[in-house]
Amino acid sequence: MAEKFHTDLKVLKKDTLAMSALGRLMLRNAVDALIRQDKELAASVVARKDELHKMEVRIEEHCYQLIALNQPVAKDMRVIACTLKVITASMRIGRYGKVIANIVKDISEKPHIANLMSIPHMADLVIDMIDDSVKAYETEDLSFIEDFSARDDTIDALRHSIFREGITFMMEDPRNISRCTHYIMVARYLERCADHACKIAENVHYMQTGERIEIH
């Protein structure tokens, strides 16, 4: 019995990794579509939202089944609790990808202002955080997430700098307002994705140690 349960847990983790990979890919492709003003790529991101949602529902149901049928405790319970949080965070990350992809069609007619300011760099850092939080979940190695607090501070600082830069361009020329508002929103979405990576990291820490931490 216990052996079957532990095999099921491995399957659950594998499915969760596949789902978080899709959420991450949607965000990556959305940012690439924004940088290259590639409407086709943006449309492909939007098209995958339902697939991501179905994966979330299926994994969530699997978690509830495992709880109902096996009454897991200790680490087994914490793996399932963490998995439920990881899929929620992955869903949100994918959804922000979709929201950014929707912006692409609105701002693809004119060239970008100041090469999108720091958005491409910020996106790389955010996606690295998502990758590391998921790697920590996969490998159970907490070293991937140990500097998350400092990395999150960098992301917050970048969002603030994009906000100020955007305001400056808007003041220079009101025709920039529409695009700059979108940039400021994208920076905000990326910051939220980094927060979700931090949430995953906090839950992986709980999964491994049983202790709660808060990453600011």
Partner: protein
């Protein structure tokens, strides 16, 4: 365990012939709480339980070292009266074992042995004990019928009532539900929850879900040693010892 403790063992060792069945067990049992002892078969949990009211004295070739105190008094002190000890520390066994007598006589037996003769007093004790064991409503109209006519679950609650009749401080339960169906088990578990208001309960169970449901504290034993003991919620959420983790998650045992 910072709470008020009623029983405490220090470096308790027990041998059955050559077999070292309990090895340096030191633990504290908090008062008015439910403490569960879990562990794989043969780990010593029942042996430990039977130390608390010196039931192991009845077995030949048992040697015990170390100390057990009940309310700070050494239960192996020469002036300890074992009958009084067993009145203070009652026990409920795995299989219900009512006397082949009436329901009333089963409950009144203990108080009579301890000197209660007044009929009115006995009636009161019988009713109160049966009420405390949540079986009064089911048997009040047939107190003079044989206890052997009750169902297994009722018999077990009768045995609990019989234990309560002599006003113990501690109730030891050795797998009290393993011979019962799920509904009877649920009744006993609810009863345990109520009993801790007035008594201290120590329960041995092989059923980990039961331990997590009914107890406030859990001790995990393995090969005669107490591996880990602490609040049940901590043991089942994040045990400190890998051995505990492996046992409660079903990786062995």
């Amino acid at each position: 365990m910072s709470e008020n403790c009623i029983i405490s063992t220090t470096n308790l060792n027990l041998w059955y012939h050559e077999k070292h069945a309990l090895q340096s067990v030191s633990m504290k049992i908090p008062k008015n709480k439910v403490t569960a002892l879990i562990g794989p078969s043969g780990c010593g949990k029942s042996t430990l339980l039977r130390c608390f009211n010196r039931l192991n004295d009845l077995i030949d070739h048992v040697k015990i070292t170390g100390e057990i105190t009940l309310d700070d008094e050494n239960i192996h002190a020469p002036d300890t009266d074992v009958v009084t000890l067993r009145k203070r520390v009652g026990m409920v066994f795995q299989k219900p074992n009512p006397f082949p007598k009436s329901i009333y006589e089963n409950i009144a037996y203990g108080p009579k042995v301890h000197g209660v003769k007044d009929k009115g007093e006995l009636d009161k004790i019988v009713e109160q004990s049966l009420r405390h064991a949540a079986i009064w409503d089911e048997v009040k109209d047939r107190l003079h019928d044989s206890a052997l006519g009750l169902s297994g679950g009722q018999q077990q609650r009768l045995c609990i009532a019989r234990t309560l009749a002599v006003s113990p401080e501690v109730i030891l339960m050795d797998e009290p539900c393993s011979a019962l169906d799920p509904i009877a088990t649920a009744k006993i578990e609810n009863l345990i929850e109520m009993l801790k208001e007035e008594y201290t309960v120590i329960i041995v169970t092989h059923n980990m879900q039961q331990a997590s449901r009914v107890s406030d504290y859990t001790g995990f034993m393995y090969l005669g040693k107490l591996i880990e003991c602490g609040k049940t919620v901590n043991i089942f959420e994040h045990p400190k010892e890998e051995l505990t983790e492996n046992y409660i998650t079903g990786r062995f045992g």
